[in-house]
Subunit: 61 residues, 6 copies
């Protein structure tokens, strides 16, 4: 705790995720003073056929 | 926002999801007056071995 | 199952939620042929100070 | 309802999940007196490259 | 990790939640051999006006 | 999209949340090149009686 869940369209590299996880963890630690080790981050990769905005699927945009 | 997440056993076609996304977006827009473009829908496909009801897995029913 | 979660800024009436729940359930039943009784919908009311878009809080927009 | 979601690093067997689902369902039924059939459990398998703790990915630990 | 989220209609006592948390943690530890301290459980209390099954709200059943 | 959900023990100030939302949005925008306006962040405030780690509730630690 805190537990951060990030829903993202698939296609980000492991390096991009690693970089986001590192910086978001630092931000939360710096602002809340919660120990860094307690910050957990989960990425959910969404397929383009599983995300709709305004009634349109990402595969149809 | 609003953000709608739908947990479904895998096996629905893209057309079925597209149809659900379109109609659910229209329903929310009509009732809340929130602009259609702000409505996001995420489908999570569950494997049958990842869903249990009453202590029984979908693969065992 | 299916399980639908809807994150909404607080302030919708019970009647609006009831109406959304009814119509979304009908849509899912009609398209997937899953029995109506199996469709569950959960609303999460978000405070305006708990939702940010583009780095701005709803209370600051 | 209740709806239980379990985020787990991938690699557990179907038997382990079945066993967890059975026992967790029994625990909830016993304590809340909610009928067993109403307890639903969803497992989300996380890839090691999708989980970070303390800013470090599971694949880097 | 694992991270367990439990959506429940409001009204369970702290003692019931404490008892569920303790037993579910033990079950997961016993089956997966993950250290007990790594198991986190989050309860989400749902108001009756925020949960619908089969298109009917809990407050209307 | 991306949609970021942050589960936090209650008690953070609006200023702390605003600061986290701003910096996390900047981080995601910088790394993924997704337009800033598409990044949404939702905070879920957990009561101490709703969070357990290692089978112990935050109110009992």
């Amino acid at each position: 705790m805190p537990i951060v869940t990030i829903e993202l369209i698939e296609g980000r590299s492991v390096d991009q995720k690693r970089d986001m996880a590192k910086k978001i963890t630092e931000t939360i630690t710096e602002i809340t003073k919660i120990p860094q080790d307690a910050v957990e981050i989960i990425f959910h990769d969404m397929k383009k056929e599983n995300y709709s905005k305004g009634g349109l699927f990402a595969i149809d945009m």
